[in-house]
């Protein structure tokens, strides 16, 4: 079906950029500044949603903005995969923008205008990546995300902040220059274009006579070049990026940034190489083994972390690889499961990070060992935390179960006991590092220094944080019980 040409596909990218400009202009009046940020988030979500009905009824939207060189252009295209990512990210931005107010004011953070500006631009660039119609556009927005999240990571401007941010930018810039740039050049040389093949997930854009060796090199460069996806061994930037304020870790390092990486890999696998080519060259299974290693190793490292955010970071590394694993298995069930996990993981992980930030603001605690008995003083927060961790483990009826179910179906489709075992073992490991946190919070003994009693959730600023995390926690359950919304969207793409 021919896509409908409309400039509406630009809105989701433009609105956050305009929001950033307005936030900068109104930096002197915090209330106005934060209202603009919130309104911008709502409008961005609406801009995505007005296109949703068309995509859900099997259509697509496109716009070729400008052509740089034959086959290289800045073009936008919205298909089901883009819709899932853009819809999830823009919806969560609304909640995150409320949460930010509580967090940033609660801690009296400095340079808040810079924070909100970079935050909005990063989300806008992620929208651009979701709407990309070709590898150049994707690369463009991918790089903008890298640059504008850099000031957010080093927000505190202390030693840790600088070091984390330096590592962050070195990993991301090195991989994109060293791998994505040659990958684009090779792909263009082989095909004469960088445009995605949006008509299906099997064909790809490579002509049959293309040199197999070069195709494989280009694929590997893409797989590891999108280092935002945190595939080992290029995952190390992510735990260090946790020095950022928690709203950054929550929206950007659980949803936007890392999902841009994973989304890019999925997009490249499905729309650039196509599952036929990945199958023939054996790259599908190769990828599956690489990410299986990441899933298990990152989970084991997560077990050893005592800082809550660090544990969540390694959990993110591991969960992101589920998404890539699903696509790498190349069967309809598995691809569905993988893509579904983009949304499912987003809702659950942002809840967990929101909780971590809320705990820090309300009680000043960062380390899991200090959280004994905290559940009784922050019942809503810890309840949401418990729900979201069930999703991570993959317990029904929370959403994580649905994606893992499809992944397991996919593993059985290809008859791989190994991958099935990876899924099971990793779920056990997930349980191993999430259950103790909830358990400790409700049944652990408080530290001797914890003298206070009573709820910590009643202060107005904390409440601004509790409400968003409660909403995301509940949605995590709802999309587990009624997964059809995302499932049907993805099935339009996978076609099963």
């Amino acid at each position: 079906m021919e896509p409908m040409i409309t400039s509406k596909v630009l809105l989701a990218t433009l609105i956050p950029m305009v929001t950033a400009a307005l936030v900068m202009a109104t930096g002197r009046t915090p209330n106005l500044r934060e209202s603009i940020s919130f309104v911008g988030a709502v409008l961005t979500f609406i801009a995505v949603m007005i296109l949703a009905p068309g995509v859900l009824s099997g259509g697509a939207y496109a716009l070729n903005l400008i052509t740089l060189y034959p086959g290289i252009s800045v073009s936008f295209y919205l298909d089901p995969l883009g819709l899932v990512f853009a819809g999830t990210a823009s919806f969560l931005w609304i909640l995150a923008s409320i949460y930010c107010i509580g967090y940033m004011r609660g801690l009296n953070e400095h340079a808040q205008t810079r924070f909100y500006v970079c935050y909005a631009v990063s989300v806008g660039a992620a929208m651009g990546a979701a709407f990309s119609a070709n590898l150049f556009t994707l690369y463009l927005f991918y790089e903008i995300v890298s640059i504008f999240t850099y000031p957010l990571v080093m927000h505190h401007q202390d030693k840790e902040g600088y070091e984390g941010a330096r590592k962050y930018i070195i990993y991301l810039m090195f991989t994109s220059k060293a791998m994505l740039l040659p990958a684009m050049a090779i792909i263009y040389v082989l095909t004469g274009t960088l445009d995605f093949n949006m008509s299906g997930i099997s064909g790809g854009i490579f002509p049959a006579e293309a040199d197999r060796m070069m195709v494989i090199i280009a694929y590997l460069l893409c797989l590891f070049g999108f280092a935002k996806a945190g595939i080992m061994p290029l995952h190390n930037w992510l735990p260090d990026a946790m020095v950022a304020p928690t709203p950054v870790s929550a929206l950007l390092h659980a949803v936007v940034v890392v999902k841009v990486g994973v989304f890019s890999i999925c997009r490249v696998m499905l729309s650039l190489f196509g599952i036929n080519l990945l199958d023939v060259t054996g790259m599908g299974m190769f990828t599956a083994y690489v990410v299986s290693f990441t899933i298990i190793t990152a989970s084991i490292i997560a077990l050893t972390q005592t800082n809550l955010k660090a544990r969540l970071a390694y959990s993110t590394v591991s969960q992101l690889s589920y998404i890539v694993l699903g696509v790498a298995m190349l069967t309809p069930h598995a691809v569905t499961g993988g893509l579904l996990h983009i949304a499912n993981h987003a809702f659950a992980k942002i809840t967990l990070f929101f909780c971590a930030g809320c705990i820090f603001v309300a009680s000043g605690k960062k380390d899991i060992s200090e959280m004994g008995g905290l559940g009784w003083r922050m019942p809503v927060t810890m309840a949401a935390f418990a729900l979201a961790s069930l999703s991570m483990i993959g317990v029904p009826p929370v959403s994580g179960f649905v994606s893992k179910w499809y992944l397991a179906l996919g593993a059985m489709d290809i008859g791989s006991i190994f991958l099935l075992a990876v899924l099971l073992i990793s779920s056990l490991l997930n349980a191993g590092y999430f259950v103790p946190i909830t358990f400790k919070a409700f049944f652990g003994t408080p530290l001797a220094t914890d003298t206070g009693s009573g709820s910590l959730e009643r202060q107005p600023l904390v409440l601004l944080m509790v409400v968003p995390l409660l909403i995301t926690g509940i949605i995590s359950v709802l999309i587990g019980i009624w997964p059809d919304l995302f499932l049907n969207t993805i099935k339009l793409m996978v076609g099963s």
Binding site: H110, R114, Y139, Q157, Y162, K177, V189
Partner: protein, 538 residues
């Protein structure tokens, strides 16, 4: 003669106007006494020249590879020295680059130059005429005349208005360039002896014997390789850049280095095509070395100006790499890279001049943590730094990517090595940005003063952000960063036909050896070298 030319499509001699305006302006400018009047005069003349040159772009015929806006007058028939000027798709953009950058050179000298203003404006305007002259000359002697005419004023600019080591730098600049141009002069004379003509379009289509081509190529290439500069002839550049005043650095980086690239395209490729194919592997190798060594040395600099100077070596390496890949994308990429380097590196030198005026230092350790004090400055620094390392959406990305495409389509290994340069560029520019924009991790960091400033480092709050003149200068260049970054088509269109014609001229490979002794002796080496690359063909 007519077969090479389209005579002037305008009813006035536009090239002479553009060429002579600055020269006349320079002479008349000597009448003004006050410094301010000098500056305004200089600005007026350069802007007038820029405006006068615009029809070269708007009225340029994009469908022909012939020379346009041509004027031919016999000047010294005894010597064969004609006044023959004209532009084609290869030179027209460089002429425009020159005329558009020169007003910025006046603007960035506004408060930088404190002494001998009259002489300064005079020298600046003479340089402009000489540079335009090189690009528009259709006569080898005239070309050489302008080429040499550039040397003295540039020498004076470094020697009079330069920094502490100006004597060393200016002499080094002079000796390197002069040594190169002697060989070039020999090549010109040899060409004349062989053909009896100084007329460039005629020489371009003449076919010479292989051994003659080899010598011509070497003579010309030496002069141009010094100018570009190509490793290992690059050492004059950092010295000259560091000591030159801002305007001098901008002229050097934005325009003079391009003369080298232009020379390769105008002389070496069309006049000695077989020799070009023969030397191609060597020049590709040298370009790669320039890219990597330039980037590597830039990484180690603490003097900001030196860092940008070494980055120029790397960026110009992309130009020569693109030229000697000898295909459509490579040549277009190289030409675009020349324009882009002119815009971006020019702007970076202006930015360094601005900060030098305020802190009187070019050290990274002094000029740091400027983010809170000079947000507008930092914004421009960010834009041009990103542009410098080829961030997508900026001008340099397009040109570097075209060169990479050319490399990967011919020799993937060459592409892979050029990528190393791209990585190094990102590394040193991000290091520069990190240190200039944010405070280092030595204490003055996180304060919760509840507002959005408060990260002033060692300078207190004394540093003033940009004034309107500086913002205007940089904004003008910013337009080109994004214009070329997103919509390079108009520029590519201008060069398209000329590049195609050039590729036709140089053919597609080293022809099998003839009865030429030298040829046979050399092809042995040549084949060995090319043999190294052959298995890498996709």
């Amino acid at each position: 003669m007519e077969q090479y030319l389209i005579f002037n499509q305008l009813n006035y001699p536009i090239i002479s106007v553009v060429l002579l305006l600055p020269l006349i302006g320079a002479v008349l400018g000597l009448l003004f006494k006050s410094d301010k009047a000098q500056l305004w005069w200089g600005l007026g003349v350069t802007v007038a020249t820029a405006l006068a040159s615009l029809p070269l772009y708007t009225r340029f015929d994009r469908t022909t590879a012939l020379y346009q806006f041509v004027e031919v007058r016999h000047w010294l028939p005894a010597l064969g020295l004609d006044y023959a000027v004209g532009v084609d798709g290869i030179s027209v953009l460089l002429v425009l680059l020159t005329t558009l950058v020169m007003p910025l050179c006046v603007l960035c000298s506004w408060s930088y130059i404190k002494e001998r203003m009259r002489e300064f404006i005079f020298v600046l305007l003479v340089i402009e005429t000489a540079m335009i002259g090189v690009f528009v000359s259709l006569n080898t002697l005239l070309f050489f005349l302008f080429w040499e005419a550039m040397l003295i004023p540039m020498y004076l600019m470094i020697a009079i208005w330069g920094g502490p080591r100006k004597d060393y730098a200016s002499i080094k600049y002079f000796l390197y360039t002069f040594a190169g141009s002697i060989f070039f002069l020999v090549a010109i004379i040899a060409l004349y002896v062989q053909t009896g003509s100084f007329f460039i379009p005629e020489l371009m289509t003449h076919s010479f014997s292989f051994s003659f081509q080899i010598w011509i190529f070497l003579g010309c290439a030496l002069a141009f390789a010094v100018k570009v500069p190509m490793f290992p002839l690059h050492t004059w550049l950092p010295a000259a850049h560091v000591e030159a005043p801002t305007a001098g650095s901008v002229i050097l980086a934005s325009i003079m280095l391009k003369l080298g690239g232009y020379g390769f395209l105008r002389f070496c490729l069309p006049m000695a095509p077989e020799a070009t194919w023969y030397f191609m592997p060597w020049l590709i190798a040298l370009s790669l070395v320039s890219i990597i060594v330039g980037g590597y040395l830039a990484l180690g600099q603490s003097d900001i100006k030196k860092l940008i100077a070494y980055s120029s070596v790397g960026h110009m390496g992309f130009v020569t790499l693109g030229i000697f890949l000898l295909n459509d994308q490579g040549l277009k990429g190289a030409m675009l890279q020349m324009i882009n380097h002119g815009v971006t590196t020019g702007a970076l030198f202006i930015l360094i001049g601005i900060i030098y005026e305020r802190t009187h230092s070019r050290e990274m350790s002094v000029n740091r943590a400027l983010g809170a004090m000079m947000p507008v400055y930092v914004l421009f620094l960010g834009i041009f730094s990103l542009s410098s390392f080829g961030f997508p959406g900026t001008n340099s990305f397009v040109s570097e990517f075209l060169v990479l495409l050319a490399a990967f389509s011919k020799y993937p290994l060459v592409g892979a090595l050029a990528i190393v340069g791209a990585i190094l560029a990102a590394a040193y520019m991000l290091r520069l940005l990190q240190s200039m924009v944010w405070a280092d991790s030595d204490g003055h960091g996180h304060h919760d003063d509840g507002d959005d400033h408060g990260h002033g480092a060692g300078h207190g709050h004394l540093l003033k952000d940009l004034n309107a003149r500086e913002i205007g200068t940089l904004s003008f260049l910013t337009i080109f960063v994004f214009w070329i970054g997103f919509y390079p088509a108009p520029l590519l269109e201008v060069m398209d036909v000329s590049v195609t014609q050039l590729i036709d001229q140089i053919g597609n490979g080293l022809p099998p050896g003839g009865d030429d002794n030298l040829h046979q002796a050399l092809t042995g080496w040549g084949n060995k070298m090319t043999g190294l690359f052959t298995p890498l063909r996709p």
